[in-house]
């Protein structure tokens, strides 16, 4: 018959060590995940790579800096493909503004946020009374959910291993 005694304080100390190691590892993995999601969101804003390519927006190309083909006024060139595709792309402004922020609070919670601060982003993402929604950020997050989950767990496991050395 064998027995085992455990010093509760040792367990607490070990868990505290593990807790301290987790945020840096998870922050790194969260950053990598956000980079992948942002790259996907940029693809979703690109004609030919977007899940919204087949959506039809009859007024696309009629408003804004240029219209139709060719160079107009402010030097904007719009290709025919950009007009026909339902992807939210005209001069690339929306695509350019896809970004991310990773932050950590005092309680060791790590948060990754993917965002787009272009002025018209919310209207493209959520839709309007004249334009169907194209939730390019949300769809990118969903598409990469498994990758994100795997990365975060990789970070947690790495932190536990490091703490137990």
């Amino acid at each position: 018959m064998s027995g085992c005694t455990t010093n509760i304080q040792d367990v607490i100390d070990q868990l505290t060590r593990i807790k301290g190691k987790i945020p840096p590892q998870v922050r790194k993995e969260m950053k990598d995940s956000c980079i992948v999601i942002v790259a996907t969101a940029k693809d979703y804003c690109t004609p030919g790579m977007s899940p919204y390519d087949s959506m039809v927006f009859p007024t696309k190309g009629r408003y804004g800096k240029g219209k139709g083909l060719g160079r107009m006024g402010l030097g904007t060139v719009w290709g025919e493909g950009n007009i026909k595709s339902g992807a939210p792309f005209q001069i690339g402004d929306l695509r350019r503004h896809n970004d991310y922020v990773v932050s950590e609070d005092d309680d060791a919670h790590v948060e990754g946020v993917v965002l787009n601060n272009a002025g018209h982003a919310v209207y493209v993402h959520e839709g309007t009374s004249k334009m169907q929604a194209r939730p390019f950020l949300l769809d990118a997050v969903k598409a990469k959910q498994d990758n994100t989950d795997t990365n975060i767990w990789k970070g947690v496991n790495a932190a536990v291993e490091e703490a137990l050395k």
């Binding site: 919310v122 959520e126 949300l138």
Partner: protein, 144 residues
């Protein structure tokens, strides 16, 4: 999303007399088309993406589990002279939809309802208050 689940969500919203009272009738709740409804106020629903996983032993039992998402839009004209006509009114309608969808009993044959996002907007050109909400939920089905 299978049609019976979408229909069940529509039915649960249309059966709520408080919500239909806010809107002026169950006919103001419908599946979204590419443009907002001509008659406001209105609530529109659209499928917002779905993933599906086969359960173990799928070859024998044909069970699948789906994670689905629905976008629900509230449309309120600021030019209306009676309720609803303000951003607060649109939010009140959106909050009522939360109460309906996140309460028990849940929508028939679904589970795990949660609200993922809510985005209030105002369209300057059309003068419409628009609240866009997304909900996630799960359901299972048997393939034939």
């Amino acid at each position: 999303m299978i049609t019976s689940v979408f229909a069940a969500i529509l039915k649960k919203l249309k059966d709520d007399t408080t919500l239909t009272g806010y809107l002026g009738g169950a006919s103001h709740i419908s599946r979204a088309k590419s443009l907002a409804p001509a008659v406001l106020p209105a609530v529109t629903l659209r499928d917002s993406g779905e993933s599906s996983r086969q359960r173990p032993c799928y070859a024998r039992h044909k069970h699948r589990d789906n994670d689905s998402s629905v976008q629900i839009d509230v449309w309120v004209s600021s030019d209306a002279t009676t309720f609803p006509s303000t951003g607060e009114d649109a939010s009140k309608i959106a909050n009522r939809i939360d109460e309906i969808l996140l309460s028990v009993p849940q929508v028939t044959n679904t589970s795990g309802w949660l609200k993922n996002s809510e985005t209030p907007m105002f369209e300057d050109d059309t003068r419409i208050f628009h609240v866009s909400s997304r909900y996630g939920f799960k359901y299972s089905l048997n393939d034939s």
